[in-house]
Symmetry: C2
Subunit: 263 residues, 2 copies
């Protein structure tokens, strides 16, 4: 069984509520940790979360190193993470600017290198998140866990790790191999499910248990790699806005309890 | 420059025409090789293609080893390939039946093993096609070139190889590495392009040059691995049905001429 206190609600799951209501609903539901996205923040968010007694597991997102102005924006993201008390800034690394994936990967590595001292000074760990390969053209040239781990290892720093998101990595035939070598490098673990059929490349994700990801198996591998931190539930699907919020959060808690059980 | 006679039109690109018209249009356009899909065939297709003086580069598809009745259907696919004179039967290997990807991969390997003697007797090579990981839940548990090559190598047979489809593999950070070890194992090479944005998981493919795949680079890697056979243009996109067929085929020929050029 998974300790229920490890549940963190990634607030993109309830983006339709807005941060203030999401914080209130989480408190009422007994969910003690949240992970906001930057567009949900205003000047009052850190105080609001703190006053509600909630912890923050990560801030999403920095990255997009292949875009103009990335350095300034990423330092702001670190500032915001530090203000929230988020131990991890999730990096969505950015797509290639043309057809050259190798060049994009080089640009990304250089961007992380420039950001790292600033993140370390602020006590924020950079979490390199490999995205699903279907997102390579629009969001990230880093699309496998193996590549993200190799990139993280280059820096040999406690302030760089990877984000293992079940949705993005479950298909990989090398997953077991890579997780077996990931000790000390997992900065965050995200769960949701892969629906069959999947009809949307970004927002077609399912609640845990509704798809084909063997979450108990993946969770066991992540734990075997030594990760014992927060587990974020991040489900991006507009259909969730149709569910009454308290019902949705109760459902998420119930499903979360089963991600560590034998199937 | 690519020898234009290496162009084979995968007939899914013009599925809206039907096989008879597609054959006629190819002949008129000076395209000498085609690759049909099984649903396009009737009892007269082999004669029709032969009488038009066209060669066949492959038949799509066998596989779906995780489905009931796969063995019988796959032997029929081999029969059809042999009748067409198709040297290769493309294998789309099938999705997991539940959440167990390892089990699906084992089932797939066993299915290929059972089919192989029949294929060899008929002079048909089985081409294991890794599909894009976004197709894992609905079409194939084999989603990386590395995995397809490892599977093909197990059989150590001239009648098993892999299909390198640019669309399915271009994102892979290990692509160069795997192609460098693929000598003798490439049974077919397919080209199209990855559009940005991509809005459909199956039928959102682009004509060569309209997307972000560095086709000259990939073509050079495939050729360096010793592949000098037909190159199939396979573009699955309903928008192509809106283009006058002769115009579409002329456009495809022009774009094909550039897939071997420096970018």
């Amino acid at each position: 069984m998974i300790d229920p206190s490890r549940l963190s609600l990634n607030l993109m799951t309830v983006d339709h509520l807005g941060l203030a209501e999401a914080v209130e609903r989480c408190t009422n539901a007994g969910i003690g940790t949240v992970a906001p996205w930057r567009h949900q923040l205003d000047g009052d968010s850190a105080r609001r979360i703190r006053d509600a007694g909630l912890a923050v597991s990560s801030l999403c997102r920095g990255g997009f190193f292949t875009a103009p102005g990335a350095d300034d924006d990423n330092r702001r993201a670190v500032d915001e993470a530090a203000e929230l008390g988020a131990p991890v800034l999730v990096l969505v690394c950015g797509p290639p600017t043309g057809k050259d994936l190798d060049a994009a990967r080089t640009t990304i590595a250089a961007g992380i290198e420039r950001l790292l001292p600033y993140a370390a000074d602020h006590g924020v760990r950079l979490g390199i998140e490999p995205l699903h390969p279907m997102m390579v053209g629009e969001r990230s040239a880093i699309v496998t866990l193996g590549e993200a781990l190799a990139l993280a290892r280059r820096f040999d720093s406690p302030h760089v790790g990877v984000v293992v998101d079940a949705y993005h990595v479950f298909w990989d035939p090398e997953l077991d191999h890579h997780l077996a070598g990931a000790a000390g490098l997992i900065a965050a673990y995200h769960v949701c499910d892969w629906l069959v059929p999947t009809t949307d490349l970004l927002a077609g994700r399912g609640l845990m248990g509704d798809g084909i990801i063997d979450l108990p198996r993946l969770t066991a591998l992540v734990e075997a790699a030594g990760y014992d931190g927060a587990i974020e539930v991040e489900v991006i699907n507009p259909a969730l806005a149709e569910v009454p919020p308290d019902e949705l959060l109760a459902d998420i808690k119930a499903r979360f309890a089963r991600i560590g059980s034998a199937p």
